[in-house]
């Protein structure tokens, strides 16, 4: 579904991604784990067209077509079905919950399908239906995260990029978010998940990649990495 090859990305003078390559298969839940500043968010921003790489390719195969993500404008990437749910609950604070969700469907034209998707999102997160008329900024952190995910779902993703959905949330809320991620996967959405909560991510992931200093240093299935000594020591906080 997604094939990244030898991506080199600079932010200003800093060489952030140094030849990153990996693949995400159709229907897979892939996790990208790593410490702060390893380049995880930069990877996602590059995939959604918000940053341009100096070199390398990123090909999305979606709906029988191939898209070169390193060339395509970000709004066209959204139309190609790759939806980025950015880090830190980037919601539209002073717009209402309903308006935030509507923004997710900005690129959609079929009103009946928008309505259906909205109903699906409301059944995943009933709180968003209850709070529809409230300003998004008045929601709690967990509700804002649900809103951010709900908004991404309204864009009808074929592939979803989730950047740190558990950041700063209470354990029960994290539980809930991961439940939803698992349910999304079961509906056939391909997911690339960034997490600092490596234990949680490896538990649900089919495949995982460990990023250090702008390079992928380890790849494997979630279970393989969870039992890998280096990962256990560095990311799971378990002594070898």
């Amino acid at each position: 579904m997604l094939e990244i090859r030898d991506l080199n990305v600079f932010r200003g003078a800093t060489h952030v991604l140094k030849g990153v390559s990996f693949q995400v298969r159709e229907g897979e839940l892939a996790a990208l784990i790593g410490a702060n500043g390893a380049g995880k968010s930069t990877t996602l921003l590059t995939l959604s067209g918000l940053l341009r790489p100096r070199s390398g390719t990123a090909i999305l195969r979606s709906g029988g077509k191939e898209f070169d993500l390193t060339r395509l404008a970000s709004e066209k990437i959204v139309r190609a079905g790759l939806i980025h749910c950015p880090e830190g609950r980037q919601i539209f604070q002073s717009l209402s919950v309903a308006e935030n969700l509507a923004m997710g469907a900005y690129a959609q034209r079929d009103k009946v399908r928008i309505r259906e998707t909205l109903d699906e999102v409301h059944s995943l997160f009933p709180i968003l239906a209850e709070r529809a008329g409230l300003a998004a900024g008045s929601l709690s952190g967990g509700e804002q995260m649900m809103l951010a995910i709900g908004r991404a779902l309204l864009a009808r993703p074929r592939m979803l990029l989730l950047d740190e959905p558990s950041l700063g949330l209470a354990p029960q809320v994290v539980e809930k978010i991961f439940d939803v991620i698992a349910r999304l996967k079961s509906t056939g959405v391909t997911i690339l998940l960034i997490e600092q909560n490596a234990a949680m991510a490896l538990e649900v992931a089919d495949a995982a990649h460990v990023m250090e200093n702008g390079r992928i240093v380890l790849s494997g299935t979630g279970a393989e990495l969870a039992s890998n000594d280096r990962v256990r020591q560095s990311y799971l906080g378990i002594a070898a």
Binding site: E75, A102, R151
Partner: protein
């Protein structure tokens, strides 16, 4: 399925475009009532009051158009006077009497010197000119954000002023163009205001307007939702500029003069104050504040003269601004429209 058929009204407002039928009738009735009031004022009051009313309408249209650029899209542009000046000169050159134009403006090309248009085509061409200039500089200027954009657009005022002052073969320099045909009366101003309010209202409550607000709130998230933020910002900037240029053209043909200094930084300040006091993004707020400030500064003029304290009205307007920012930082109406107005004109709820 029954579950999917169930439609909550509060959700319905955000998804899909709203075509408010009842709202249209209410709007038409309001316009008719206002027109009747203008008609009554035209026959019951002095020419001075009627001109003041026209001035008020144009100021209100300016404030509402700035609401679109600054309020909805969050571009802190101070460039309105620059576009007004452009619009005013373009329209003035087009409407000026062909007999006098040749000798007064020697550098005009032959065909332009021979042209003498009526107000409507001149107005449209003026708007087009303002829009084209905004389009040309928008790509560069809109890379800047917040204060930087404000400073750059402030610079634009100076640039346009400099051009108007020094390109004297076409503009008559610092003396400006006086004796313009008085094509514009209170009805032109009223019609323009109705046009600007209707346009802005339609834009605000469409998915385009929501996308503009999304860009204002969070550009990154907006782009993640598939919005081309750069193009949308240019669109808002250009539409604002077109309306400003048209307002400049109208105003000059109301007061029958345009000089490089007619539309200055001070005017930019006044319009921004109207938008800020009314609430950034609120059309009702911009209308109310524009009316209040225009009436306030005009009614203070005799006071200024009798006390000998010129500039008093500016001081009071500035005080009002500080007071509003202190008591209601989001402005009188925030970024929404008051419930009554919303219900009347769109038959839908807005949070």
């Amino acid at each position: 399925m029954a579950a999917t058929q169930e439609v909550k009204p509060s959700n319905d407002t955000a998804v899909g475009t709203v075509v408010p039928r009842g709202g249209f009738i209410a709007a038409a009735l309001t316009v008719l009532a206002a027109a009747a009031a203008v008609f009554a004022a035209q026959h019951g009051f002095s020419a001075y009051v009627v001109t003041l009313l026209a001035l008020l309408f144009i100021n209100a249209a300016l404030a509402v158009s700035l609401t679109l650029t600054n309020g909805l899209t969050g571009l802190f542009s101070l460039g309105h006077p620059a576009f007004m000046t452009i619009g005013a000169y373009v329209a003035a050159i087009l409407t000026f009497s062909a007999r006098r134009k040749g000798s007064m403006l020697p550098d005009l090309p032959e065909w332009l010197a021979a042209t003498e248009l009526s107000m409507l085509p001149a107005l449209l061409i003026a708007g087009l000119a303002g829009g084209l200039v905004a389009l040309a500089i928008g790509g560069a200027v809109l890379r800047l954000k917040g204060h930087y954009l404000a400073v750059a657009t402030l610079g634009l005022i100076i640039v346009v002023q400099g051009l108007a002052t020094n390109w004297d073969g076409i503009t008559r320099g610092g003396a400006g163009l006086s004796g313009l045909p008085r094509h514009v009366n209170v009805w032109w101003a009223f019609g323009f205001l109705v046009f600007v309010v209707a346009l802005t209202w339609r834009m605000k409550f469409s998915s385009l307007g929501r996308a503009m607000m999304a860009v204002r709130e969070n550009e990154l998230a907006a782009e993640c939702s598939g919005i081309n933020a750069a193009r949308l910002k240019i669109l808002a900037f250009v539409v604002g500029a077109v309306l400003a240029a048209m307002a400049g053209a109208l105003l000059s043909h109301l007061i029958s003069v345009v000089t490089p200094k007619t539309y200055s930084v001070l005017l930019a300040f006044n319009i921004v104050v109207m938008v800020v006091i009314g609430g950034s993004g609120s059309i009702t707020g911009a209308l109310a504040a524009a009316a209040a400030i225009t009436i306030l500064s005009e009614s203070l003029r005799p006071v200024e003269e009798s006390v000998g304290l010129y500039g008093l009205s500016q001081v009071i307007v500035a005080l009002c601004l500080i007071l509003v920012l202190y008591l209601k930082p989001a402005g009188l109406f925030g970024s929404g429209e008051p419930a009554v107005v919303r219900r009347l004109f769109s038959g839908r709820k807005e949070p």
